[in-house]
């Protein structure tokens, strides 16, 4: 399958393997098309997970990862792409409704926005919280003290 993709899209796709698991690094510009093709033509009908990884030292700071599964093929595939801080991605909600909360969590934890998402807001942290905790520059003890003081009426949450 990846070989076929390489034939169509050329160097925009890099097949990778680690610990016996195949995944592919895809160019940001190809993402909307690749996700559509994977869903409609390759029958990856179950969106298992969407997540991100932060690499602050890289120019393209974020890896966004889609984990997909096909019931028909009993096969899993991972698609990753690199984006710079502040760049947004097309929402996968029209393709897989399951992406709704998963994308909201990525936004909540990393601050990556998804265009066309029906309700792009925080999900685990409260509305109005400052910062995105899973970024590497967010300290493990750090929190939004201002929010805690205003909303909970205590000096600190720790």
């Amino acid at each position: 399958m990846v070989a076929k993709f390489r034939g169509t899209y050329g160097s925009g796709i890099t097949p990778l393997t680690y610990a016996g698991q195949n995944y592919m690094a895809v160019d940001r510009s190809l993402i909307p098309e690749i996700l559509q093709v994977l869903r409609n033509e390759e029958r990856f009908d179950y969106c298992v997970d969407i997540t991100a990884v932060h690499y602050p030292k890289r120019e393209k700071q974020f890896d966004v990862v889609w984990v997909l599964y096909s019931f028909a093929r009993n096969e899993r595939i991972r698609v990753t792409t690199q984006i710079v801080d502040g760049e947004s991605l097309p929402s996968a909600v029209p393709i897989w409704p399951a992406a709704n909360w998963l994308e909201r969590e990525v936004y909540d934890m990393f601050g990556i926005k998804f265009d066309g998402h029906p309700d792009m807001k925080r999900i685990l942290l409260p509305e109005g919280w400052k910062g995105h905790p899973l970024r590497k520059d967010y300290g493990i003890l750090q929190q939004d003290n201002e929010w805690v003081q205003i909303n909970l009426g205590i000096e600190s949450g720790q």
Partner: protein, 384 residues
């Protein structure tokens, strides 16, 4: 919140075209401190009379930043933390995490460890389903099953306590094998439990399966089609009750499940009653698996050779297991150091909870309670 679910318009949602009562839409808040939400889940309901037009879940009250903690602990130190996510099925969480790190390290647990892992995980599946049954029936109004299931669940917790000293957050496994060798008489006690438990399932079923009130409250309540389940990423017993024969233990076998003979129970209608039947049948299948595993428990070491200081080569791995609630996945990125660069947990409860809106539309308010119960969510896992 009106547009939140417009994306689901291609799903066959049952939204009444004409209002049921000619009254204004009523917005009601349920939770987060509500006994029937099984934790701190807040649901905002839009109602027309007593009919649910739509709802929105507000979650995050139990958010502890487990994924962030993982980045600041070594692989071994993070192991006990995963037990605190789905705290009624801690053993499954540990199995998923240990297997994922083992994949990164390219080691495999020895056969004896694999067998004990299967026994403890399946016991945990029974314990999780028992807790679900007791609380779910209590929500609907049947008090008796709660006492029955908690009485019997105690026997499983006693086995855990004897094995590792803990009852709930067991930390039973280590990366590469087991935390402890089994105690003397372990096999006999597990066998005794199976003999004790087999008639108990019939006892539960006698109370509920043909109970008229139970059937009326669960049949055709919270129905979801297989197509919608897949679109919304719903897994576990909920998916199987909608007729999809899919279980990771069979589809992509992990541990040594491929050595055991068992069936995947499925339902047809995808309603609350079918989900009840599927979970009851799953308990029977778990008994079957434990019986085979404990009967053929091999001798040998319980730990594979793993380095004291774990430094997996740089790379990333996704691995998932069939937890009692659905697909529990771990995505771990290693940068070659002693701490994971990123740990992502794909919790079944979080994704399954998304389906609550679809399942509740067109139902009555009282059925929302039944549907929350039947989804079998644990908020510790939803919020992490």
């Amino acid at each position: 919140m009106t547009d939140q679910h417009s994306s689901l318009s291609n799903l066959d949602l049952e939204t009444p075209e004409k209002p049921f009562l000619d009254a204004n839409e009523l917005v009601i808040n349920m939770g987060p401190q509500h006994p029937a939400t099984h934790g701190v889940l807040r649901v905002i309901l839009r109602l027309d009379g007593e009919k649910v037009l739509g709802l929105e879940c507000v979650i995050g009250y139990l958010h502890r930043g487990v994924e962030k903690i993982g980045e600041h602990r070594t692989y071994t130190m993070f192991n006990p933390y995963v037990d605190r996510m789905d705290y009624v099925a801690a053993v499954s969480n540990g199995l998923g995490y240990c297997e994922t790190v083992e994949k990164l390290l390219n080691v495999e647990a020895p056969p004896r460890a694999q067998h004990v892992r299967v026994i403890l995980t399946e016991l945990n599946r029974i314990a999780s389903h028992q807790l679900w049954l007791g609380t779910h029936a209590l929500d609907i109004g049947a008090i008796t099953p709660l006492f029955y299931t908690f009485r019997d669940r105690e026997e499983i917790l006693k086995i855990y306590e004897k094995y590792c000293g803990a009852r709930l957050t067991t930390h039973a496994f280590r990366i590469g094998g087991l935390q402890y060798e089994t105690y003397t008489g372990f096999e006999k006690e597990v066998k005794n439990f199976l003999d004790f438990f087999r008639p108990k399932i019939d006892e539960y079923e006698e109370l509920l399966t043909t109970n008229r009130i139970w059937v009326e409250r669960t049949k055709n309540v919270g129905t979801i089609s297989a197509q919608d389940c897949i679109a919304l990423g719903v897994t576990g017993p909920v998916l199987r009750a909608s007729g999809v024969k899919w279980d990771l233990r069979k589809a992509q076998p992990y541990a040594n499940y491929k050595n055991f003979d068992f069936e995947i129970p499925i339902g047809q209608n995808g309603d609350t009653y079918d989900r009840y039947l599927v979970r009851m049948a799953e308990m029977r299948q778990s008994v079957r698996i434990i019986e085979q595993a404990v009967g053929a428990l091999p001798e040998g070491p319980i730990m594979a050779k793993v380095p004291k200081v774990m430094k997996p080569a740089a790379g990333e791995v996704y691995h998932s297991i069939e937890a009692p609630k659905g697909e529990l996945g771990y995505f771990i990125v290693s940068d070659g150091s002693t701490q994971p660069y990123r740990v992502r947990v794909r919790p079944p409860s979080f994704v399954n909870l998304q389906a609550l809106d679809v399942m509740c539309r067109g139902q009555l308010v009282a059925d929302v309670i039944a549907v929350i119960g039947t989804l079998d969510i644990v908020l510790g896992e939803v919020d992490r």
